[in-house]
C-alpha cells in the first residue's frame, strides 16, 4: 500500500535518511516511491497501516502520514486515480463521519475554490455526515505549486497551476511536538554550543536511540544529544574534557552536588535515563576496549568557538611532577592539567577508531562535521569497521556542517576505504595552524562570535 508522508520543508538532506533510520529501528520495510527536495510530499510503500503508524510516531522531520487515495497532475487525473486506487477502500468508510481539508504548498486557494474541489469528490459513496470537528476520518487534498527557489534553480517558467495534487486519508502525526518541548529557549541549562532541539532529536533518530540501549557523547557539553536520546528511551552517559561544561560553572550551580546538565533530565522527566557524566579526554579515554555502546552521538569542538584541545603540552615535553605541601601537584584540588591544540582531522579519526572499538555490532555513531562550503561534496572520514549509512548537510553562509551516520560492521566485514577522506592536519602547534577549517572559515565567522560574546 502507498502512503503519503508530509515532510517539514527544510533540512532536506536529513529527511530521507531519518525516515530510513526510523524504518530500520521499528523494523518496517520502507520503499521510497517519490521524493523531491523541493516538495514536502513524499510517497512511500509500506506493508500496512500499523507500519505507517510506527514509522511516523518516531519521526521528527515528517509531520504526518496519509493513506494515499490518489494523485495526479490535474483533477481529472486525480479523480481517475482515486477511482482505481481507492475504490476498494470505500465500503470501509461508508458510514463514518468525515471532513475534507486542503493544504497548499507555495500556492493559494480561496474558500469557495476549496469547496468546489471538495465537492468534485462527490462520487466517493460517503453516507455518513460531514463533521468538521473531530471527524472519524479526515481527508486532505494537497496541492504542490512551483516554489520560487525551484523555479530559479531549475530555470522553469512559473505556472499558476499546481505541479501535483494528492488526496490522502489522515492516519497519524509525528513526534514533531518534541521540538517545542525540547526548545533551547525553555531548557534549564544550555550554552552557546548547544545543538538545537530539532537536529538533536534527528541525530538521536539517526543512531536508533530506543529503550534498553546505552548511548554516549564524548563531547557532552550541556547534553543536547543525550537528552534527545533519552527522550526516545535510551540510557545515556557523557564526558567532556572541561567539567564546567556539564557540571556548570560555580555561579551556575545551585547546590553542592548539583550537576547543571542533570537539571535538563529533571525538566524532561527522564532522570532514570541519566547514567553518568565524567571528565575525560577522548585521546586518553578511560573507557575500556570492549563493545558496550549501542550509540554514540557527538558534535566535536572544531576550534571556531572553542579551540580543540587534548591532554599534553604544546612542545610535547612533559612537565615534571612537583610536590607542594607534601602532595603531588596533580593530586591537589583545583589542579588543571596542561592541554595542547589538536587537529580536527586527527580527532575525527580518533572518534571513529573509538567507535569501532566501543560500539556493538550494528550500533551507530552520528558525528557532526563542519565543512567549508567548497568541500561539502568531498569524501567523509571513514574507518574500516564502520559503514557510512548517510551524510546530510546543513548549510550556512560560507560554511556548512554535515551529519555523518555510521554503522558498526560485524567482525570480519570491512567497508571500502578507497572513498575515505584522506586529509591530514597541517603541522604546527597553534590552534589555527593545525586546523584548516578554522583558517579557512573563521576570519569573518569567528570574529562574529567574538562580537556576540562581547555584547
Amino acid at each position: 500500500m502507498e502512503y503519503l508522508i508530509r515532510l517539514a520543508q527544510w533540512h532536506q538532506s536529513f529527511r530521507v535518511p531519518e525516515l530510513q533510520a526510523v524504518a530500520t529501528l521499528v523494523g518496517v520495510d520502507l520503499e521510497i516511491i517519490f521524493y523531491d527536495d523541493h516538495s514536502p510530499y513524499c510517497i512511500v510503500k509500506l506493508p500496512d497501516e500499523a507500519a505507517a503508524r510506527a514509522l511516523i510516531a518516531r519521526s521528527i522531520l515528517a509531520k504526518d502520514i496519509f493513506e494515499l487515495w490518489g494523485h495526479g497532475e490535474n483533477y481529472d487525473e486525480v479523480h481517475a486515480d482515486v477511482k482505481t486506487r481507492a475504490a476498494s477502500l470505500w465500503p470501509k468508510y461508508e458510514n463514518v463521519t468525515f471532513a475534507f481539508d486542503m493544504d497548499t504548498f507555495c500556492g493559494k486557494r480561496s474558500a469557495s475554490a476549496r469547496l468546489e474541489i471538495f465537492k468534485s469528490f462527490h462520487y466517493i459513496p460517503f453516507k455518513g455526515s460531514v463533521k468538521l470537528k473531530n471527524p472519524d476520518e479526515q481527508f486532505l487534498v494537497m496541492e504542490r505549486y512551483l516554489a520560487q527557489t525551484e523555479a530559479t534553480l531549475q530555470q522553469i517558467a512559473d505556472t499558476p497551476n499546481p505541479l501535483r495534487i494528492y488526496l490522502g486519508r489522515y492516519i497519524a502525526s509525528s513526534d514533531r511536538g518534541a521540538i517545542i518541548e525540547y526548545d533551547l529557549k525553555k531548557r534549564s541549562y544550555i550554552s552557546t554550543t548547544s545543538m538545537d532541539a530539532e537536529l538533536s532529536l534527528v541525530t538521536a533518530n539517526m543512531t536508533l536511540a530506543a529503550p534498553g540501549k546505552l548511548f554516549y557523547d564524548p563531547f557532552v557539553g550541556t547534553g543536547s544529544f543525550l537528552v534527545a536520546a533519552a527522550h526516545f528511551g535510551a540510557l545515556t552517559m557523557g564526558s567532556d574534557i572541561d567539567p564546567r561544561s556539564f557540571r556548570g560553572k560555580d555561579e551556575e550551580r545551585k547546590s553542592k552536588n548539583d550537576i547543571a546538565l542533570l537539571r535538563n533530565y529533571q525538566q524532561y522527566n527522564t532522570v532514570s535515563k541519566y547514567v553518568d557524566s565524567f571528565t575525560s579526554d577522548l585521546t586518553n579515554t578511560p573507557l575500556r576496549d570492549c563493545h558496550f555502546l549501542d550509540g554514540i552521538v557527538c558534535d566535536p569542538p572544531y576550534g571556531v568557538r572553542e579551540g580543540l584541545r587534548v591532554l599534553g603540552t604544546r612542545d610535547g615535553k612533559p612537565l615534571d611532577p612537583v610536590v607542594i605541601d607534601g602532595v603531588l601537584n596533580y593530586y591537589r584540588p583545583g589542579y588543571i592539567p596542561p592541554k595542547r591544540p589538536y587537529g580536527f582531522e586527527a580527532m575525527q579519526k580518533d572518534i571513529l577508531a573509538f567507535a569501532a572499538r566501543a560500539l556493538v555490532t550494528n550500533g551507530r555513531i552520528a558525528m557532526w562535521m563542519p565543512t567549508a562550503i567548497d568541500e561539502v561534496g568531498l569524501p567523509v572520514p571513514m574507518d574500516q569497521h564502520l559503514e557510512v549509512v548517510s551524510v546530510s548537510t546543513q548549510t550556512f553562509g560560507n560554511w556548512a556542517r554535515r551529519l555523518i551516520t555510521y554503522r558498526r560492521l560485524p567482525e570480519g566485514e570491512f567497508s571500502d576505504m578507497s572513498q575515505a577522506r584522506s586529509k591530514e592536519d597541517a603541522r604546527g602547534v597553534s590552534a589555527s595552524e593545525v586546523n584548516e577549517f578554522r583558517r579557512k572559515v573563521d576570519i569573518s565567522y569567528f570574529n562574529k562570535f567574538q562580537d556576540e560574546q562581547l555584547e
Partner: protein
C-alpha cells in the same frame, strides 16, 4: 559515578590498558548515595552480557554489597525479576559521590568529587 560506569572504565594511562591489574579500578574512601530510579528490565537484560562480571564482583565487594553470585546470570536467569532488580540497584541506583578510583597497575588515583570522576592525566602520564 555509578557502578555501571566503573565497569566500563579502566586506567586512562595507555600503557596500563594492556595490563590485567589495571581493571577494575579500585574504589578508595568511597561515599555512597542511593538514588531510586525507574526499574528498566529491558536495559538490564541488554547490558548484562556486556558487563565484566568478575570486575563487578570486585567492585561490589569493595563498596560493601553482599557477594554477587559467582557466575553471570544468563538466559533464563535474566527473566527473573528479583535478579534484575538487584542488578538495577547496584548498577544504576548506587552512586559514588566522593572518593578515589585507583589503578592496580600504576597506582594513579582518579578523584571523584560531587559525583563526577576526573580522568584527566598530568602531562607526564599522557
Amino acid at each position: 559515578m555509578k557502578v555501571i560506569t566503573a565497569n566500563f572504565v579502566t586506567c586512562a594511562v595507555k600503557e596500563c590498558k594492556t595490563s590485567p591489574a589495571s581493571f577494575p579500578l579500585h574504589f578508595h574512601d568511597a561515599e555512597l548515595e542511593m538514588q531510586e530510579l525507574d526499574f528498566q528490565p529491558e536495559f538490564i537484560r541488554n547490558v548484562i552480557p556486556r558487563i565484566d562480571w568478575e570486575a563487578l564482583r570486585v567492585t561490589a565487594n569493595e563498596l560493601g554489597f553482599p557477594t554477587l553470585p559467582e557466575s553471570k546470570p544468563e538466559a533464563g536467569a535474566l527473566n527473573d525479576e528479583q535478579t534484575l532488580k538487584d542488578l538495577h540497584r547496584i548498577l544504576l541506583e548506587t552512586q559514588v559521590m566522593e572518593g578515589k578510583l585507583v589503578c592496580g597497575n600504576c597506582s594513579h588515583e582518579y578523584t571523584i568529587k560531587e559525583g563526577i570522576a576526573n580522568f584527566l592525566l598530568p602531562s607526564h602520564l599522557v
